[in-house]
Symmetry: C2
Subunit: 184 residues, 2 copies
């Protein structure tokens, strides 16, 4: 951050009065430019005994398999965002069920929210950020080609819970442990 979005003046890094951490401050118009973590919403789209994954057509992790998910837009609810991403990435209509996993990734200031969802019909195709969309049974999941730890973890929990017959909501922190990270 170099310039004020409001007036175009060069920004100064400093601790505003009454605050306790450095911010980008505009001495010309007085605006303090706060920076905030970003929210990513997605879902686990289920069709009968299978779940849908998308092969990424974009970096990072191009060619790896992922759940439909992406940055929440202004004016959306969390379920809105998850539904839109499913539509954009796999051309599917889903009914969003309950929240399933929430991950804080403090090292990159992101929060992921995944819902369970079911597909309204067995019809899907690759969206513009997807090379291929495909339904997988549990024994077909390409565990070594999963894009991100948040996706990997959600899928592992999902199949374990499905065996038990009960889906339990989880909130977890994902640290930048290289053994656990996929991407980022």
């Amino acid at each position: 951050m170099n310039y004020c979005t409001h007036c175009g003046t060069s920004l100064r890094r400093g601790i505003p009065e009454g605050d306790d951490r450095p911010r980008y401050i505009c001495d010309s118009c007085g605006t303090i430019h706060y920076q905030n973590p970003k929210l990513i919403a997605g879902c686990i789209p289920v069709w009968q005994d299978r779940i849908l994954l998308c092969k990424r057509a974009i970096e990072p992790r191009l060619g790896y398999w992922t759940l439909p998910a992406g940055f929440m837009e202004l004016g959306e609810t969390l379920p809105d965002a998850a539904r839109r991403e499913a539509r954009e990435e796999a051309n599917i209509e889903v009914e969003i069920e309950s929240v399933y996993t929430i991950f804080s990734l403090p090292h990159i200031s992101q929060v992921y929210v995944f819902f369970r969802a079911h597909m309204l019909e067995e019809r899907y195709s690759a969206g513009s950020e997807t090379l291929e969309a495909r339904l997988f049974r549990e024994d077909e999941i390409p565990w070594n080609e999963i894009s991100f730890e948040t996706v990997y973890r959600s899928l592992r929990l999902f199949f374990a819970d499905r065996k038990q017959g009960i889906y339990t909501f989880r909130m977890e922190t994902i640290a930048p442990d290289p053994r656990r990270m996929r991407g980022d």
Copy 2:
């Protein structure tokens, strides 16, 4: 948003190639300035049969009672943010328990996350954004002086659940219905 934070050039509003909604675009350095919803984290601090509320020393809703909550900072997890806000607003140390309520407020592009929490000792005082911190039994809650619908709703659910002996996680959308809004 008028100027590019990166290079200071005037921004243009337009739909980037491959996108489907207008963004702020810098034609000089090529940066697309995405805008995203903001996350607010807070908690319901419990001490024995009472919960702690803070009387707001700042606008909006100055003088109204609220739960400790505020914008999540870069580098935090959701529980980190809730713990920090409790410390800043009421000088309390809390142990964060499970997530309790999540609200999407699409009309102001915010997402609220409240945790249940318990206070580690019966000691509290007003932080700099607080006029007064106080413990309330259920029959003492100033229901007509609660700051925000997210707080009101979380408290109502909390006391109803407590009677049942089981706390159920909820995700809801709060619409800008004037009968339901407190503040904003």
